[in-house]
């Protein structure tokens, strides 16, 4: 096990190295002088050569690319991700202000997905080929196809504008505003983000349960007279939970993509919305910093999932 963990962890290094090169090159290859972006496009025509040079000096973009890359990467290790071109605040500070909203959104989405998706999948797999199974599967196929922003509109239209149950947009912190306000604001974004994963998890749970239920040892368990509930809970679910673990890893990556849309629609002050704004403003240090944070966290979540998987299924370690 230790050997597997070591080997798997070492693989992270080249991947993160390439991630940093990709992130850095995208921003280097982007057309347009960052100094011009800071000066606000046309204004560069009125700025003197010294002024432009001073801005470039301050931003450190008059140095050779290799030097810039190394200092940027060095900064990443000590948590210093550069400064926003506009607010001149450090990217790490901006991220620390936005991270709570993003984590709240992602967690509420995943919670809804797991809490509803797993039982739906179990029910469908257990009652295979009945109307329960079919309606769960119809829902699962639908959940995949509905774009998040459209679902969000429909939810807002029905539950906020017509029924008035939930606010149209915004975010309240769990810490400072209390759980009731928090839930009122996070429910619709959570559903928006969670539905697709709920569909995925339900499908995955169902198919792995169906497969496990056809195994010989399940027949044995039934043959020796165990109740259906015990067979399901003690024998089938344990084996069927494996693929679901992998899906949670996948869901994490997809959830980050989902936050971009969800946070924009619901005006939640999180990292996804910050990213969209940075892309619109061409605020490259912010884009770079966020890309590195998202990619790094994805790599480490996957590492954890792989290790967990190897722990649950010894065969993985030796392949």
């Amino acid at each position: 096990m230790g050997k597997y963990i070591a080997r798997r962890t070492l693989l992270v290094i080249p991947v993160l190295f390439i991630v940093s090169i990709i992130t850095f090159s995208i921003m280097q290859l982007a057309p347009g002088d960052p100094a011009a972006i800071v000066l606000g496009g046309d204004y560069i025509m009125y700025a003197t050569a010294e002024e432009i040079e001073e801005i470039r000096e301050n931003m450190g973009i008059n140095r050779p690319p290799i030097e810039q890359y190394l200092s940027w990467l060095g900064g990443f290790f000590v948590g210093e991700l550069g400064k926003s071109l506009f607010t001149t605040e450090s990217v790490s500070l901006l991220v620390s202000q936005k991270i709570e909203a993003t984590i709240s959104t992602v967690l509420s989405g995943i919670t809804i997905a797991v809490v509803l998706g797993v039982p739906m999948g179990i029910l469908a797999g257990w009652k295979m080929n009945t109307w329960i199974d079919r309606s769960v599967m119809v829902f699962a196929v639908l959940g995949f196809a509905i774009p998040g922003f459209w679902l969000a509109f429909n939810l807002i239209f029905v539950f906020s504008l017509k029924l008035g149950w939930f606010p149209v947009f915004g975010f309240r912190s769990l810490m400072t505003d209390g759980p009731i306000e928090f839930l009122r604001y996070i429910t619709l974004p959570g559903i928006t983000l969670g539905v697709a994963f709920m569909a995925l998890i339900a499908r995955m749970t169902r198919s792995s349960l169906v497969e496990v239920l056809s195994e010989d040892y399940i027949r044995t368990a039934r043959a020796k007279g165990l109740s259906e509930r015990i067979v399901l809970i003690r024998h089938a679910l344990r084996a069927a939970s494996m693929p679901v673990v992998t899906v949670i890893g996948l869901v994490f990556a997809a959830a980050v993509t989902g936050t971009v849309i969800t946070e924009t629609v619901f005006a939640i002050p999180g990292m996804g919305r910050m990213f969209v704004k940075a892309v619109g403003d061409r605020d490259f240090p912010v884009i770079q910093g966020l890309m590195m944070i998202f990619a790094t966290s994805y790599v480490f979540v996957n590492l954890l999932v792989d290790i967990l998987y190897a722990y649950l299924d010894p065969r993985v370690r030796y392949s």
């Binding site: 390439i18 599967m137 196809a145 922003f149 997809a254 790599v299």
Partner: protein
Amino acid sequence: MTTSNRGFNPNEVRQAKGVGSRIYIQFMRMLKKNPNMIIGLVILILFTTLTIFAEFLVKYDPTAIEPIDRFMPPGAKHWFGSDVVGRDVYARVIYGGRVSLLVGFMVATFVTVAGLFIGLVSGYTPKLDIVIQRIMDAIMSFPTLLLALALIAMLGGSVWNVIAVITIVDTPRMVRIVRSAVLSVREQQYIDAARGIGAPVSRILFNHIAPNTMAPVIVQATYFFAAAILTEASLSFLGLGIPPEDPSWGNILSLGRKYLQQAFWIAFFPGLVLTINVLAMNLVGDGLRDALDPKLSRSV
């Protein structure tokens, strides 16, 4: 969707290879066993025809401004209502479908070609494999929409840039599928035999290995088609994909969200049509998967 819908059995497929009429019979049998796939195909064919012949089938110009008709609810005159400057939403949705289908089709094609090529090379040559796989892992570490957005920031928004960007983002996922198919085929005896008679690597790759990876590749291509349409809509929705002059589902939706209270139909209909199309593609993909790739249908 149910695991029992496996379509035809592999032995029959092998016999049918090269015989046109038999393939047709197999195809019909596959459809009969999988009614959902028929629904999906019918929707797609209908909708594609509608967008291709939009000039003859849609009576309004999607960009024609008619201030008197501003915010008309759906009805006989404007089937899907009209928007803030009186443009016909139905016309805009149909014309917007052109962009979406073009993006989906092109991405699916490019991803398949690039994925096949890189996946074949990577799976067959272990030395390159290590390097290629790390690069693919790195690209896949970025959440798809985020990488697409960053690349759009670099390239600027246009239909072809959107296609290029989604292709870059999706290719590694296709590479992984091709590669794993190659790895399982590589050790087969007929590959050894081909090598034994001195066949060049290119022939082994493209004539012997590639055809055997086609089943999962075709299935995945339909999913990429659907996913690309969703990604394009997301990019345009965020105002960073297709320029606002051209109607696309994402654009129309993005405009409609401002008027949700007074004219919900502007945002509702493009989303509905988008959902129906993506659903149809997924149904076709599921049907193909059950028919061509029984192994996959067990895993998801």
